[in-house]
């Protein structure tokens, strides 16, 4: 009698324990798929990149925190390093069309070119659907997705939450670290951090 009661309790605990881990776009869970046009008008989806590591970078050229990482060349360098290792880099703009610093496709492309940025594609998530699905809060806000489609990192670009450009040199780049560990088949030491920056202008 006692035994069967404890069996039931084990089953219940397992069932409810598993239910705990739910929620949209959390580390360790499946990354939500999306379909959205890029800044060249081409349709992009996460599922199209299955089998590759994918980095999502929320950005807004008008934000000083984004400028910190672009003017110092930190973000473009991180992009190129990731892509040279075979990762796909998707820069996402969830800035609403009526926001003051909204950029059209051509303006956005010109900005990328000017900064020497080289994402695989720039997703124009004007209606914020992708942003909401991932719970993107700040610019920058970074997500790393494994080839199996699991979220392995979510959070800040690096360890120094400031707008000071000097801090880039001394900060730990969490995205580079997460990609390095995940690509080597190791667990990601810092799998989530608190993102910092301007609000996403939904």
């Amino acid at each position: 009698m006692k035994r069967s009661a404890s069996l039931l309790a084990t089953a219940a605990a397992t069932i409810f324990g598993a239910a705990l881990a739910y929620g949209a776009a959390s580390v360790g869970q499946s990354a939500p798929d999306f379909k959205v046009r890029d800044s060249n008008g081409k349709e992009q989806s996460l599922s199209a990149y299955k089998g590759k590591f994918v980095v999502l970078e929320w950005t807004n050229p008008g934000c000083p925190f984004v400028q910190k990482h672009y003017d110092t060349g930190n973000m473009p360098a991180t992009q190129k390093a990731a892509e040279s290792k075979g990762a796909v880099w998707l820069t996402v703009s969830s800035t609403a069309k009526d926001a003051g610093d909204y950029k059209s496709n051509s303006e956005f492309n010109a900005w990328l070119k000017e900064k020497g940025a080289a994402p695989t594609a720039a997703l124009m998530d004007d209606d914020g659907k992708v942003g909401h699905a991932y719970g993107a809060r700040t610019t920058p806000h970074m997500f790393v997705i494994s080839p199996e489609g699991k979220l392995v990192y979510a959070g800040a670009i690096d360890s120094k939450p400031t707008a000071r450009k000097d801090d880039v040199k001394t900060a730990t780049n969490y995205v580079t670290a997460a990609l390095g560990e995940a690509m080597a088949g190791k667990p990601v030491t810092k799998a989530s951090s608190e993102p910092y920056g301007c609000s996403v202008k939904y």
Partner: protein, 707 residues
């Protein structure tokens, strides 16, 4: 010149305005005026009270941030240079305000705020002047954000009191939250939320609501509403945990700003451990849900699945395929060997269909799709295809055409030799149509099984299928049952034809489901397509003539059938959810949305949610019986329960995500939210008494809490 300036400053400082603003104590930008202030009522000496502070005066609509900035933004930071023997403490933050921006919530200050810092003097300053230097960084935002910084300098007289900004400090220090000595606070992880319980609060606060600020960032879902209640002297709150939680603190300090202006600080210690998520292996599946089950737990789950499958046979869900089941039984009435092979084939069909559906579902979910159990009937095209299939089966049973006349003779004879195949296909069809409803007791188990390692998850679904087929296996195994069945004979012909009519009833039901999903045009298109299909079937069955004319007309009719389906298919698309929601919601029921639930709960209303779907016959049965029962409706009304209905007839990622949060994967699901309590889930086939007592229990709790 330099000396003169210095002298003038000295004279001004000493004679006119002791310790008042010297050059460099103010920084002014277009958004903020920042000023370094000091308070030292007894001069600067060891053991004396010395405060420094930065006064921030924001332009309208601009704000700076608290120590936890919330969803975005950055806290203001200080870097002090003080004479030796003096050390500056941390900012003693005043109570912040909530600063909503779009869907996000930040914490900070607008208007005028003073950020005070206590200074400890350990040895007497050797000079007559105490020189203070501050480098401050702040982020000022309206919608756009501007990082700003300032360097401030201030000279304070060591031997004289500095009190010129005493009122500013008085006001600023009073804005800080008060820590209570005899208050205890605890937080528990309950499902996807943190449940706080705080005791030892002043009696005058009882029954009042608080705005709650978490000092630690990266733990709770900032913009999610905090549900609060009082249980006697204990204040309780429930705050959803952030899905992107980055911190696992052992204690969570909270600032509670109660209505009426009382601001308190409590430190809630975590009474339950955080589930580990940090060492998530790249590529490997999630750590927590993928933990393999201990064997006893797994065995129990399998046993429950088997039982759940057996009970599924008694659920209203099987009405649409009742005749298929009867047919399967009737086919058992041959020799013992035939009975066995046909029962085994039927079982294999059911189990394989369950496995295939579960496998597809697990694969789709791994791909990030928000799907749940029953997903096959969420596609209008699948519903239309099933309707066509059931029409054909019905016409076949009614004798309009024989399958042999459809297929080349070799396959036809194979079929005749092997009725096992028939049973197998019957099993597959029965499972595909009858499985979407969640079996009783199986709601939580199915939800969890989808998160287990694939092998174990599939085993649970296989056990469920085995349970569904078990009664037929038993029937063929027990000779008494076989004897009870009538001998095969001419009655079989009549019986077969009679069974055609339940098949057509299933077609009516499927048409109704399609109408819910694709609207009246889609349903009408299906009926036209079925009419043409029936005509084609009749033509096939006629066998009137042979020769080139028959070939020609056959090709024409086949082309007509294909053409009709091609014409109708584009109409079988889901219509906008709004119009569907409007159609399914009466005066009593409102359409469900997570925001609506939060809003109603924030208003203190109790909320009942019916997660339903047109294709879930059990849901429809419950809707028309228990949920329409006068006593249940009276209980709802007496308790002012808000009734929300979430219609999952077509695919809906928001509903699927909410079901996952509740630990479920399919419908029906009935949930009651009351006060700060965790949501209560009712059974899949709730009785009138069950609903009434669930509402009443919550009512008692609520009464207790409000007194």
């Amino acid at each position: 010149m330099q000396v003169m300036n210095g002298l003038i400053r000295w004279i001004a400082a000493l004679l006119v305005l002791p310790a008042c603003a010297l050059a460099g104590s103010v920084a002014q930008t277009e958004q903020v005026r920042a000023e370094l202030l000091a308070l030292a009522p007894q001069g600067i000496a060891p053991g004396k009270q010395v405060w420094l502070g930065l006064r921030l005066e924001h332009q309208p609509h601009w704000h700076t941030y608290w120590k936890n900035a919330g969803d975005s933004g950055l806290p203001t930071t200080f870097n002090w240079t003080l004479p030796s023997g003096a050390t500056a403490g941390d900012i003693d933050w005043p109570t912040p305000r909530q600063l909503p921006i779009g869907p996000l919530l930040n914490f900070g200050y607008d208007g005028v705020a003073l950020l005070p810092v206590p200074v400890t003097i350990s040895s007497p300053p050797g000079t007559r002047i105490f020189h203070v230097r501050l480098e401050a960084d702040w982020l000022v935002c309206k919608v756009e954000c501007i990082p700003q910084s300032g360097v401030f300098e201030l000279d304070l007289p060591v031997g004289q009191p500095t009190i010129s900004h005493a009122t500013e400090f008085e006001r600023g220090l009073a804005a800080r939250p008060v820590s209570l000595d005899n208050s205890t606070a605890e937080a528990r992880i309950e499902g996807d939320a943190l449940a706080f319980a705080v005791t030892g609060l002043p009696a005058a606060l009882r029954g009042r609501k608080a705005t709650v600020f978490p000092e630690t960032a990266g733990v709770v879902d900032n913009p999610a509403p905090v549900t609060q209640s009082w249980n006697g002297a204990e204040w309780r709150a429930r705050w959803p945990i952030s899905s992107q939680r980055s911190e696992s603190p052992a204690a969570l300090p909270l600032v509670l700003a109660f209505d009426g202006g009382t601001n308190l600080r409590v430190v809630a210690t975590l009474a339950t451990p955080w589930p580990g998520t940090d060492a998530t292996r790249a590529g490997a599946a999630p750590t927590l849900p993928e933990t393999p089950l201990s064997l006893p737990g797994f065995a129990t789950a399998l046993l429950f699945a088997l039982l759940g499958g057996v009970i599924l046979n008694l659920m209203p869900c099987v009405f649409p395929v009742l005749s298929l089941k009867v047919l399967a039984l009737a086919q058992h009435s041959g020799s013992a060997r035939e009975r066995w092979s046909s029962a085994l084939a039927y079982t294999a069909g059911v189990v394989i269909a369950f496995l295939a559906l579960a496998g597809l579902l697990i694969a789709a979910r791994a791909g990030g799709e928000q799907l749940g159990w029953g997903f096959q009937l969420q596609s209008p095209a699948t519903v239309a295809a099933l309707a066509a299939l059931f029409t054909l089966i019905g016409l076949n049973l009614a004798g309009v055409f024989e399958v042999g006349s459809l297929l080349p003779s070799s396959i036809a004879s194979l079929r005749a030799r092997d009725p096992t195949l028939d049973s197998f296909l019957t099993g597959i069809l029965a499972a595909a149509v009858a499985s979407p409803c969640t079996a009783p007791f199986m709601g939580a188990a199915l939800g969890a099984a989808l998160t287990w390692p694939t092998g174990q998850g599939l085993a649970v679904f296989a056990a469920l299928g085995l349970g569904v087929a078990a009664p037929y296996l038993l029937a063929s195994a027990v000779p008494v049952v076989a004897r009870w069945l009538p001998r095969p004979g001419r009655w079989m012909e009549t019986f077969r034809a009679v069974l055609a009519f339940p098949m057509f009833a299933t077609v009516i039901w499927l048409t109704w489901v399609l109408g819910q999903q694709a609207g009246i045009d889609g349903a009408a298109a299906l009926l036209v397509a079925l009419l043409v299909l029936a005509f084609a079937a009749w033509w096939w069955g006629r066998r009137a003539e042979n020769g080139p004319r028959r070939v020609l007309s056959t090709v024409a009719i086949a082309a007509l059938t294909v053409g009709t389906f091609a014409w109708a298919a584009p109409l079988w698309r889901p219509v906008a959810a709004d119009s569907r929601a409007a159609a399914n919601v009466g005066a009593l029921w409102q359409p469900w949305s997570p925001e609506r639930v939060q809003q109603l709960r924030a208003e203190g209303r109790k909320v009942f949610v019916d997660f339903t779907a047109a294709w879930c016959v059990t849901c429809q049965y419950n809707k028309r019986t228990t949920l329409a029962h006068p006593e249940v409706l009276a209980t709802f009304e007496a308790n002012k329960v808000a009734l929300l209905r979430a219609d999952w007839t077509s695919r809906d990622a928001v509903i699927a995500a909410e079901l996952r949060r509740l630990g479920r994967s399919g419908v029906p699901v009935y949930v009651i939210y009351a006060g700060a309590e965790a949501p209560r889930l009712l059974s899949e086939l709730p009785t009138v008494e069950e609903v009434r007592s669930a509402v009443a229990i919550n009512q008692e709790t609520a009464n207790k809490e409000s007194t």
